[in-house]
Amino acid sequence: MSKKKPYFFNYKESAFRYLLISCSLVIVAFFLALFYMLISQSLPAISSNGFGSIFGNIWDSNNGIFGGLPAILGTLASSLIATVLAIPISLGIAIFFTEYAPARTRFILSIFIDLLAAIPSVIYGIWGLWVIAPLIKSGIQQPIINAFGFIPFFSGPAYGLSIFMASMILTIMVIPIVSSISIDLLASTPLSLKEGMISLGATKWETMRHVGIPFAKIGIFGAVILGLGRALGETMAVTMVIGNSYSWPFDSVSIFSPATTITSKIASELYEATSATHMASLIELALVLLIITLAINSVARLIINRATRRGYPQ
């Protein structure tokens, strides 16, 4: 860039540049303030109970004991189950979309996928609570308990609202994320490789199996991790269907018993926090969640960016 500036509009040019820079800096400042506020507001809990106490397993606000382990485990378990269930469905959608669907079906399917991602989480909640929970309780949970009740994970009475129910809802919410990224990745398979397969007489599935999937594999893995990050932070739908009981997994390991997650714990207790330590402990839980999701999302973004920037696999 040359040092010589046009003789007019000079100050407007720099004013505009400073406007853009200051807006960007405001956003960076908000991001830093987010960390600062969460850390400073959870200090009362850390100083009175110690940092490790958030990983205890008893939450008793009357006696000032705030262990968040059941909530942390509930978050991890429900999100992991959901992500694992979402993988085959999302891959099926992506393969059907890129290889088999005719153009019009593809357009409609893409609207459906966008809508799945766009439906507000509280709507998933009210639907899960009033429509799905009763169905799942008698239609899925009771038969499985009758057949496999001897396994601890499937034992106990069938509550409609349970960690299983939350995982079901989360699965539906993770599917659009994983499938839309997978579709983009599969669609960017180099045409020459596909044409090579087709000229050898390969079927669509063989082309997908030997060219498309190996090409997109790493990126799809990134998409799955991104979906996991979304599931971890999901609040409303989970709060409404998980049953909010602190007994899982220490009193009952069954996936059909009600449980709690970090987000549902915060959503149902923050505005009625009884003491400063109680509130600070909830904010400390939020800090734990923020750190987990940021770590997972950065890993996912890194993988996906690598995968999309890469050309041919060498």
Binding site: K12, E13, S121, T235, A267, L270, A286, L290
Partner: protein, 281 residues
């Protein structure tokens, strides 16, 4: 020896992937259908325009929540859209390779992955615990912060794909950079930016977690923005868990309104005209 022929395998895969796609679509159709069927019977003029009836009494409406959501969303847009657009402009035209640009891009990426409830807690600690009462302003800040990464990303991407020929033509004409950015590149990218803003608006219209401990809820008409305010989202949450039949019905009605907004925006952006002069990627 093959267990099944290649052609039957092909058909099997087609059937299997089609079946998996259907599995994913059934919940969506079920949601749309139940929300419509349950919601439509709740909606009438009184429902849309009057205040809620006290707990245990039938009748009344959710007019204050509709108005509240509109007010909170507008404040969030006033805060989030300009910041998002200017940041997107900076990332696309000024800070492509600078150190600040890289840092800002990283922050925008990270913000888009932060769970919505965290924004609610941030606004709660920043404002509600300071002024010591719940306020709709805190809710607007939480939602506005959620809009920023969406709007910034959309602006950056749609300005970046504008062909460099156009930038070079502007440079050759001696047009200052800020005019080139705002009046040439931005105006070509406008439809992409608009799409981003609409999607961000749709997204925050349904967000509930950031409102729970900021705007809370109210049974009265919104009068001041620094007071608790009713909103459709929190109303759905509170009413559907209340167990009182008339309130659950009202929650379905509110859900229908929310779904209509979100579906209308998401389907209509699919048909927004594609911009001209894009670079040949």
């Amino acid at each position: 020896m093959r267990l099944i022929g290649r052609r039957s395998k092909e058909r099997l895969i087609l059937a299997g992937t089609f079946f998996l796609s259907i599995i994913a679509i059934i919940p969506l159709l079920s949601i749309l259908a139940t929300v419509f069927i349950n919601g439509v019977s709740a909606i009438n003029l009184e429902f849309l325009t009057s205040l809620p009836a006290p707990f245990g009494e039938s009748g009344g409406g959710i007019g204050n929540a509709i108005l509240g959501t509109l007010i909170i969303n507008s404040m969030a847009c006033l805060f989030g859209i300009p910041l998002g657009i200017f940041t997107g402009m900076y990332l696309s035209e000024y800070g492509q390779k600078s150190r600040l640009g890289t840092a800002v891009r990283l922050v925008v990426e990270s913000l888009s992955g932060v769970p919505s409830i965290i924004f609610g807690i941030f606004a709660f600690t920043l404002i509600v615990t300071t002024v010591r009462h719940y306020t709709a302003i805190a809710a607007a800040i939480a939602l506005g912060l959620m809009m920023i990464p969406l709007v910034a990303k959309a602006t950056e991407i749609s300005m970046k794909v504008v062909s460099n020929d156009i930038r070079e033509a502007a440079i050759a004409l001696g047009i200052p950079k800020w005019i080139r950015t705002t009046q040439i590149v931005f105006s070509i990218a406008k439809s992409g930016v608009l799409t981003g803003c609409l999607l961000a608006f749709a997204r925050i219209s349904g967000e509930t977690a950031p409102l729970l401990f900021t705007s809370l809820f109210s049974f009265f008409w919104p009068s001041q923005v620094d007071q608790p305010m009713a909103s459709l989202q929190v109303l759905i949450y509170n009413y559907s868990l209340s167990g009182f039949q008339d309130w659950v019905l009202k929650a379905w009605g509110a859900s229908l309104l929310l779904v209509l907004i979100v579906v209308a925006i998401n389907v209509s952006v699919k048909f927004i005209a594609k911009p001209k002069f894009k670079g040949s990627a």
